[in-house]
Symmetry: D2
Subunit: 346 residues, 4 copies
């Protein structure tokens, strides 16, 4: 019982916020004390979202995004599930109130405020906080996350792209200038909003790419790949929208610089003890069906001997390991409980 942490969720009406809510309501070590939503303020969670009816704490009432009220609720950690630009000011206020922040927006993912301005078309709202923010990839920054005041939880595409590539770039097994990535994402990744291109008849029986050629997520992807390669890395990235509710499948092409046989060892040596990275093996094509609703990232790899390319495949739930699940992983690290608490589901 001493392991029960009081938490708040700011912005719990989008798909990421709802997935956070779902995990938190069932988390053995979290007690939800405040939940905000402008559009649903003064309504009970289970009246707005009948899926949660009869779950513990589901009768909590949404409040306006008032950070003092959050502090008054006793919350010591707050999740921000808000658009970029909106999150930073709340984060700043929460920190001043002594509340640690796990931000699921892009506001604290980039080390450099100029890169933020370039990719997000606006000045960074709180550049003074960037130094203390930790990029929330638990497999890579476990120690930093444990003691962080602000965790910038990574984007969905970046998680699926970065994790398989980091060990290979660190070990110099692929040519960093040869990386091309094709990803397919479920529609929940586009957000929970009334939008004509997102209605069922427009998306169903359809596949299309979007956001070309400079998707915003490239900024954090290239930042982390460059760190791993210890040199500046630029990649090509094409995201596609496919008719599934959730799930990301990422296919990465890269030219091998070493022996293909070293790939397995490189991946295994970094991830063999990671509870949520599942190395499915050489010659395996992972399926999003096996990861939806979970916090797992599955990885398979293939050799194309005819072109001497490596073909990497990774799958995750864009709302799980790509967003809410990963944020809970950080929460578990920050509170010192079991790394898998609340997340070992299928």
């Amino acid at each position: 019982m001493e392991d029960l942490t009081k938490v708040a969720i700011v912005g719990a009406s989008g798909y990421t916020g709802l997935e956070l809510l779902r995990i938190v309501l069932c988390h053995p070590n979290a007690e939800l004390t405040a939940v905000t939503s402008r559009s649903n303020a003064d309504q009970k969670i289970d009246d707005v979202f009948p899926r949660f009816k009869k779950l513990p704490s589901s009768e909590l009432t949404f409040i306006e995004p008032d950070m003092r009220a959050i502090a008054a609720s006793g919350a010591t950690i707050a999740f921000l599930a808000l658009p970029h630009g909106t999150a930073a000011p709340f984060a700043s206020e929460l920190l001043q109130l002594g509340i640690r922040v796990i931000d699921l927006s892009a506001d604290f993912r980039l080390d450099d405020a100029n890169t933020y301005a370039e990719f997000y078309d606006q000045q960074h709202p709180s550049p003074e906080l960037l130094d203390q923010a930790v990029y929330g990839l638990p497999e890579i920054y476990q120690n930093e996350i444990q003691s962080a005041q602000i965790v910038a939880s990574p984007g969905c595409y970046p998680t699926s792209i970065i994790l398989p590539l980091i060990p290979l770039l660190r070990d110099k097994l692929i040519d960093p200038s040869s990386i091309s990535v094709s990803s397919m994402s479920g529609v929940s990744g586009a957000g929970r909003k009334a939008s004509l291109p997102l209605i069922f008849p427009e998306v169903n029986e359809s596949v299309r790419s979007y956001g070309l050629p400079r998707h915003r997520h490239l900024s954090e992807i290239e930042q982390e790949l460059s760190k791993a390669a210890n040199q500046s890395v630029t990649i090509s990235f094409v995201p596609h929208l496919i008719p599934v509710t959730s799930g990301i499948c990422t296919t990465t092409f890269a030219n091998l610089t070493g022996e293909f046989s070293t790939i397995s060892n490189s991946l295994r040596s970094l991830y063999k003890n990671s509870p949520f990275v599942r190395l499915r093996g050489e010659g395996i094509s992972p399926d999003t069906k096996h990861v939806t609703g979970t916090n797992f990232l599955d990885i398979g790899w293939h050799h194309d001997p005819r072109t001497n390319r490596l073909i990497l495949q990774s799958t995750e739930d864009n709302l799980g390991k790509g967003a809410a699940g990963q944020a809970i992983q950080s929460f578990n690290l920050m509170t010192g409980i079991s790394p898998t608490a609340g997340l070992l589901t299928a």
Copy 2:
């Protein structure tokens, strides 16, 4: 009325055969005189496939695949919608009976019987016929198709990959050694067969690649790309299965060797008069939704200036331009009627 050609369809119970049947039943210049299916022999078309009920000729009865009966029906052109290996012997017999053949299998697509053996794991059944077979890409081989006795109608993935690349390789605008292709296909491409991995709950809410790293279609893709480049071309190709019934979306990465601005001209000069290739333009991401049920191939292209790569996008219906529609395009050419007869639908 002198433009009415009697045709037969051999193997009309798979998805390709059914799409052929659909187009032929409504084609103003074709009269279906024979249709074969072992499993449906002696049953009427519209009893087996209620979708066709009340269409002209839909009360025709399926027969066993008997080539003499086809000849006796008066058919002068036969479509073969059969598995590879099965098609060639029928083709041979039909030719001897004086019937021209449009084969939708892979049996006559490769110039070289050895490549066939390598990719299809069996000796070619009729290598002596390869010389007279024409690869049925009407945009490229129009003249050859007009007079062909055997047309080898291209595969679905190859059509979506080859057509956008041919002008660019001919004009030496991209590096032939740098081509990586990621395609997404609807499930009808896997065939109409009872198969556990294809049942709805396995495919729905799922994305997965398959056939890595050496999909059979690579053989015809590389054959045609090598002709266009006038040098041997090897590519990486990753097909993915997505939960749509039909449609292929192909994303191709290639390093630019010339100016990006020349790409549009190259595509336009080859395809400006093609009735079924729609150049959607620079910066456009075509959507399979706009081509399903049609014979169109849509192409968009993007410059990734950060990596100096070209990103090509193409969409088609795997059963339409990728199979049955394209076969009808060849039929139109072979019979000297309007190139768009029976195919200008949306």
Copy 3:
């Protein structure tokens, strides 16, 4: 060529309007001379809707809904694909300009302006026109449609419910007070609009009823059933939204008053020559898959001897026989051409 009629479509940006556009662009006896859309005015059809690119007339430019411009274009028949309440004033103006009207809204479906007010929560905009409007069910009102100035094309649910029941009520084979109807509809039936409950993640993997207990379509359903029964008929009707783009499946329960064996004859004697009603037979459960994209209505029927109920099943495309296709059927009758012109597709 004397059979070519100039037509206009008013409101061609919703799903019904788009399906009308699709059929008209390919119709051998129609020439589209004007097409209106407030939101797309001054843009070409194929720029807004790339699916239609390279079809004849697809480069026509959308205009504002200006009835005089429509008259100036030479159109002699206009289709109205507009919301109820909006259609009637345009219809009135078109009639005064000498243009016959096929209205796909609910504005002219009801004989009684009071019933309209009761079900549509507004006064009827043009009650003086109700007398001359013909309910556009070609199987029932063929003669009236041929000479009509205004055809009120029926709703999607009503078509699927009314057609199977009319002969049975006329022949007094079922108890008119015992009718309960459960229908399932594709999402295109809800319209092409940005609406949160219609976005893919909300509709996918979901089934739900809506509009209970007094759906607006009940007004025209009960009007036509009462005429058939020659007495006032009231029914229960539950529509459900299911994750398909188009298609309606209607299941109707009714207590038999006569022998079940008479059902077939009753249906056959009314519909045996109807080109678009396909009586699939006793014990058959029709599938929407066989009618999507077409103008067919398929009917099957079952006896439940344990309760002595009749179970009727009917399927159609809500945009086809349930809307645009049926409107074209009326167009064919009004212009005296083949009843199946432009509609015999699969």
Copy 4:
């Protein structure tokens, strides 16, 4: 820890078995000691079903269905997820070995072996066991289940139909002879098997009814409704297959015999303390989206004053409350632990 029960699952390769496996692997009070599957024998769970990889006990190896091996594993309760006819002999053997049985097949659901023979077209394999079997609806037979040696877990459709009707029939608020039911089910309900009508292109964009007019589930439905009404009840039931993976939506029509206002009280007085029945209220149409993956059954009800009918709506996951979840509810009762253990998820 004294609350940890050793359990076995017999037949864990169908969708019901897999859902059981999913819940059991994460259940705080169950330890899986044996799992059988003929087709997967000698393989590890997580090699066959990668979704479960890295979950506790997921490295257990499938064995042949050997009841002695199950006993040797220490299991004291066994779940049977097998076809009807196959389950009974195993149940008999397990009981003799002192293992309590929760059977998810139809073998023990009917009190009367003759009714079984009539609906399942075969003699009952173990009629001598019928007396001791308890119908596993925890909301109705809680006490009996607690002490049962054999629990016959109800079918998916029956659960959704019976639960809303039982209080209303007990309280004589509806006419038992007037009940008609239209249900829509996801495809997982048809089983995990290679079957042409179940492959994605056949099911997607399709709705169809099936199993008319005498679906096997009618036998248990009418048995339980008759008990509630204290008279013989016969109903009409039409199941439909819709393109979702899981979820059942049931719409029930019945003539009211009392005041509509009494319906709410009747439902509330029976279910107000049931943890998994969620009375959503009058005028509410529940959505399967809110129950998939859970053990909840949601109920809404509507008055149709024009016909004086009651329209009941209920939703559940066919694999959850309709199968595996409900079986776990019985398990919780049989072992005396919290009724919601392992099941309070969203």
